[in-house]
């Protein structure tokens, strides 16, 4: 009865008669489909990024961190004194590592930011007091020399391992090995330099985004002896001090399945030592991973709804134009009916036109969608070049944006295209039926 290819060809012919109108009508669907694909790609990229970062923390790890409480409710004693005492205790470390059998490895860390000097060059570094296991857990690669050893710990030696960034800033073209760096007026022999390490983005409430490249690692015991637990900050007109024993304890659990139950035990054990649970937080990457997946689902639903709305708006645009087209072509409909077209033929004709319109819109949208990743790179390039000072992101959002790479969700391509054709059918049906129901005599008389 009707030949499909010929029908599509003739539909194209009618649409090409009004190129601008057809193009503008298509635009709604183009953007709808494009936004579906682009949004899913960005969502997927963000979620993969989050998952990778969580996995970097280690799926079998539990991280317990000290949290600095706000000054006014820091605790009973601290209220009256200058010294703010908070955070994890060495007693916590002993308690956890000795009493919980599912903990395989426990690494205590103490962090302080101190000015470091080499000759005339000075910078503020994060001094990390740690144990040899720290390297293992954080997958640090040595560029030169060695990491901290147990011997360093027991002898409380003044040795330091520099992160790549710190080594670069302080020593520039010199070889730092064997030289000394002055940290808080005490000299430390440099025994190693690590490869640079990717910055972590903020995860959860307690892990803020961190740049590890300006770290200096020293043995925990050395740090305790040389710097003590008390960190005094003197500035003109103000004086503050805080006493922290440990900033973080990284715990490695023997088995993946044991992580969540162990975390519960850890929370209970810590509550035993601390009255105020706001002084520390327990970060379980596995839980974060679950959260990330849930967030991804919510994200996808929200993005999907936005895209769906834009597709519906596109569909309404198509319907509007098709209704106008049907009125405009009333006479043509009359002619066709006189020449033997059945109502179903007229319906098929206008439905085909709508579907060709929305389908080609969908196709263009898919192509634009495929261009999302390179286009996103371009936006990032422009942002680093013109908007960010020195090409460095200053805020966490900026860091996240710069490290985000959209990943095309391949299943979204046929999905979005299918939806666009479906929109054509749904929104084309009414105008097509309206055309088919016209009285041929009236239609022929139409001017």
């Amino acid at each position: 009865m009707f030949n499909l290819i010929r029908t599509v060809e003739l539909a194209l012919k009618s649409l090409l008669l009004h190129k601008l109108r057809s193009g503008l009508t298509m635009l709604g669907i183009v953007f709808g489909v494009f936004s579906v694909i682009a949004m899913l790609a960005i969502g997927e990229g963000a979620s993969q990024q989050a998952q990778e970062q969580v996995l970097k923390l280690g799926a079998t790890n539990i991280i317990v961190r000290s949290v600095k409480p706000p000054r006014e409710n820091a605790g009973d004693r601290a209220q009256n004194s200058f010294v703010l005492r908070y955070g994890l205790l060495r007693a916590d470390f002993d308690l956890l590592s000795r009493t919980i059998p599912t903990i395989e490895q426990a690494i205590p860390i103490r962090e302080l930011t101190k000015p470091c000097r080499y000759l005339h060059r000075e910078m503020n570094c994060r001094i990390v007091g740690c144990t040899p296991d720290y390297r293992d857990v954080n997958h640090l690669q040595m560029a030169q020399g060695r990491f901290i050893t147990d011997e360093d710990r027991s002898r409380k030696d003044n040795v330091a391992v520099l992160a790549a960034g710190a080594a670069q800033t302080l020593f520039q073209y010199e070889d730092p090995l064997g030289k000394t760096v002055k940290i808080a007026d005490k000299r430390y022999a440099i025994v190693g330099v690590t490869e640079s390490r990717e910055a972590s983005a903020a995860i959860g409430g307690s892990m803020s985004g961190q740049d590890y490249n300006n770290d200096i690692y020293i043995p925990l015991e050395t740090m305790r002896v040389r710097m003590g637990d008390l960190d005094v900050d003197r500035r003109t007109g103000s004086f503050s001090a805080e006493e922290v024993q440990l900033n973080q304890i990284t715990l490695r659990i023997v088995d993946k399945d044991q992580v969540v139950p162990t975390a519960a035990v850890i929370r209970e054990s810590l509550a035993y030592n601390h009255k105020n649970p706001n002084q520390y937080s327990v970060v379980v990457p596995q839980e974060l991973l679950k959260q990330a997946e849930q967030i991804k689902i919510i994200f996808n639903v929200v993005l999907g709804s936005i895209a769906a709305i834009s597709l519906i708006v596109g569909g309404i645009g198509i319907m509007n134009i098709m209704l106008a087209t049907v009125t405009e072509r009333t006479r043509e409909i009359g002619i066709r009916r006189a020449l033997g077209a059945k109502q179903s033929d007229i319906t098929a004709q206008f439905l085909t036109e709508t579907m060709v319109l929305s389908g080609s819109g969908g196709l263009i949208g898919v192509i634009l969608g495929l261009l999302t990743p390179p286009a996103f790179e371009g936006v990032k390039w422009l942002a680093t070049k013109f908007m960010l000072e020195g090409g460095q992101a200053t805020s966490e959002v900026g860091t996240m944006f710069l490290s985000l790479t959209p990943k095309i969700v391949w299943s979204s391509l046929p999905l979005a295209f299918g939806i666009s054709v479906g929109i054509g059918v749904i929104f084309g049906l009414y105008p097509a039926r309206a055309a088919a129901r016209m009285d041929p005599i009236e239609a022929l008389r139409h001017e």
Binding site: N3, E332, I335, L339, G340, K342
Partner: protein, 232 residues
């Protein structure tokens, strides 16, 4: 004598608000094969209504319309479409070509709605080209209607009316929009078709055009008022 079409006591009533308008009040005409009838009458005489019924665009309120042995008065909408496609070739006063289609594509349109056979094959293509040449548009087959004169457009319409080999050709004021030279051309063409054996029913109010037909039927107030040429 074999009949191409036949109307028996045809009536058509329209409901305008609460008033019933009887546009046709019992018309009976036989159309033998090879006939060339001119239907004349002033406006409101019912000739347009008769033409719509003859064209199977509408169903009569009472009476019978038989074409090619089929009673149209009891058909469904789809069946009417099939009858229009297979049995009737339309020629309109204002040509009624599809503006975005070329000459060949316009001639092709009725073939799209053929019952049964689907795709347009090489044989159909040849037939379409033959018709275009026959009406003298062999060198303009890819032109669009706006590139053609009125007479040329009407010739395309004639070719289109012939493409499905209809039982009768219905011409509604075929020369109404044309100058006298072109009018002559088109009438010549219709006369030739009639001589080849085609049945033509033509509505016109121009006596000099009607004179060319084999017989004339005058309509008045929904009935046949007489036959032959009325001078004036």
């Amino acid at each position: 004598m074999e009949l191409a079409a036949q109307v028996i006591d045809l009536q058509k009533h329209f409901l305008l608000g609460t008033v019933t308008v009887k546009a046709l009040r019992g018309v009976s005409i036989d159309f033998p094969k090879g006939d060339f009838v001119a239907i004349m009458g002033s406006s409101g005489s019912g000739k347009s209504t008769l033409l719509n019924l003859l064209g199977a665009l509408d169903r009569p309120t009472f009476g019978k319309y038989i074409i090619g042995g089929n009673d149209v008065s009891i058909m469904t909408d789809d069946q009417l479409s099939a009858i229009r496609n297979k049995m009737i070739g339309f020629i309109f006063q204002s040509y009624n070509l599809i503006p975005q289609y070329t000459v060949l594509e316009n001639i092709e349109v009725p073939l799209h709605y053929r019952v049964g056979s689907s795709a347009i094959g090489a044989k159909d293509q040849k037939w379409i080209e033959h018709l275009a040449q026959m009406v003298g548009l062999g060198d303009r087959m890819d032109h669009r209607p706006y590139q053609l004169s009125g007479g040329q457009q009407q010739r395309v319409a004639i070719a289109r009316a012939l493409v499905n080999n209809p039982e009768i050709i219905l011409a509604d004021e075929p020369t109404g929009n044309l100058d006298s030279a072109t009018e002559h051309e088109i009438m010549e063409m219709l006369l030739n078709l009639n001589q080849e054996g085609r049945t033509i029913v033509m509505v016109t109010h121009e006596p000099n055009v009607a004179r060319l037909a084999k017989r004339q039927i005058h309509m008045k107030d929904g009935v046949v008022a007489g036959t032959g040429i009325f001078p004036g």
